[in-house]
Amino acid sequence: MAVVRPFDKLPALNSAAVLLVGSDESLQQKLAEAILKEKKNFKISIHLATSLPLPSERDHLRPRIDLIAFMIDIKSKYSLKNVEASLAHVDASFFLGKVCFLVTGVGRVNYCSVEMNAIWKLGEVYCSPVLYCELELEGIRVATAQRLLQMLQICAGHIPGVSALSFGLLMRNSADE
């Protein structure tokens, strides 16, 4: 299947899957390791991809994806273009709180090749939260991993009373203030 859909597979018991999409593989790897190190009481599977669509050969082996995190590097225009191209292969119902954008490299103003307006607009157009994180720093990487884990739990439906959509709206409303 060319398009990633949120509800085309059955969920597994007490487990969740997150998909990280971004052009920088080493950074993805580091973030995935940070997520795995965190304490959690459910089974987690982290999928890494440089771009979408995911290859269809192994599609039947993949679990249901609960959260997609697109990673954009401010220092590389290519990473933004890559993410924009990949967004076309995500089903529209994913954008009801199950997608977020991670923007890294924001610490160094003098290295930015991407206009901040473009990123802000991306978050607006796709109704998804934009998290600014300097993933190259270990402390921030750990904090981002914790945030992603919490979001993943909500998106997988493990937290009663909070749905992905309501949480997504909460994040956007607090960001606007």
Binding site: S23, S26, V109, N110, C112, S113, E115, M116, N117, W120
Partner: protein, 355 residues
Amino acid sequence: GRRGPVSPGAPRAERGPAPLPRRRRPAAAAQRRAPQSGRSGMASPSERGLPPRGGFSHCFIPVYRFQENADPQKTAFLLRKQWALYSVTPLYKFSSGKLREYARLLGAFIAAERHKGLAVQVGVDLDIQVTFSSLPDLKGSEQDHAAMLVQLSSRSSVSPKNSEEKLMWSGWFCCVSGDDLSENVPEDFTCLPLFLANGAESYVAIVGSWFQKTFDCRFRRLAISPLNLTWMAAMWTGCKVEKNASATELVFSVPCLPQPLDISYAIHPEDAKALWDTVQKTPGEITQEEVDLFMDCLYSHFHRHFKIHLSATKLVKVSTAIASAHCDGIIKFLQSKYLIGVLMLLTELAISQIQ
């Protein structure tokens, strides 16, 4: 911080070549303004685009006024030299009538520093002369303070009559269309946010510390981000230049390699201008989308031939017939008729670093 609307100054008569176009940020409300033609316009808050997110504040002023009064003879010495860029916070109680006294004080300070053992040049003992002078033509609007030049020349103290004075170091402060800053500072403050230095780095440190002590200002190196370099590439490519102009050259540095690799991409100036002319829709106005499209065309052309994604690299240097800029904050002016336009861009960058 956010600034209020800028009031228009006296109307300018634009003569000579077409002025550098105005840049416009894509505003959320998508307000299109009539393009400028020989009249200074007003900047409205919505023109500035959205409030800064993620800690950046690129609130560039879409208004510019072009002054052709700069005498090319007087400013010829500024051309074809490498100038290191610094941003300077407003100077407290600076008076342009006291330039002689400042020169004397700075000379004494330099002599004292050298006596202390912070000798800058080993070997021949040099007698350093300091001159302060004013460059009244280098300004963009009436409110700008006139540019000020500081020069250090040396004369061998062994035989002062025989040896000639040699210019060792020069630095100049200027403010071109810096109304955004100068309108918001209290009395007693002089706004000269851009400082350019040519010569040994050690003299910048000495002169800088004297200014910091005397006028309570702060100097900071002004770096130019790759994003701003792409704006410069687009703006300068669009300017009319005569035949035999030098090629437009972009230098990219490739990250994450065991050995550093630099890629230099040279484009014939007429081809580059032809490409820019197809991209730019409104003469006299530039949007971020147009700059992105221009760069994307260049990147995809390169990718088609070399299979390298230049968009994943860092743009470090832009060289055109008008000027060349390096991301470490180094500029070289190559044509006097566009000097004011380039200074205006640099003043904007300096002001956004200060604020």
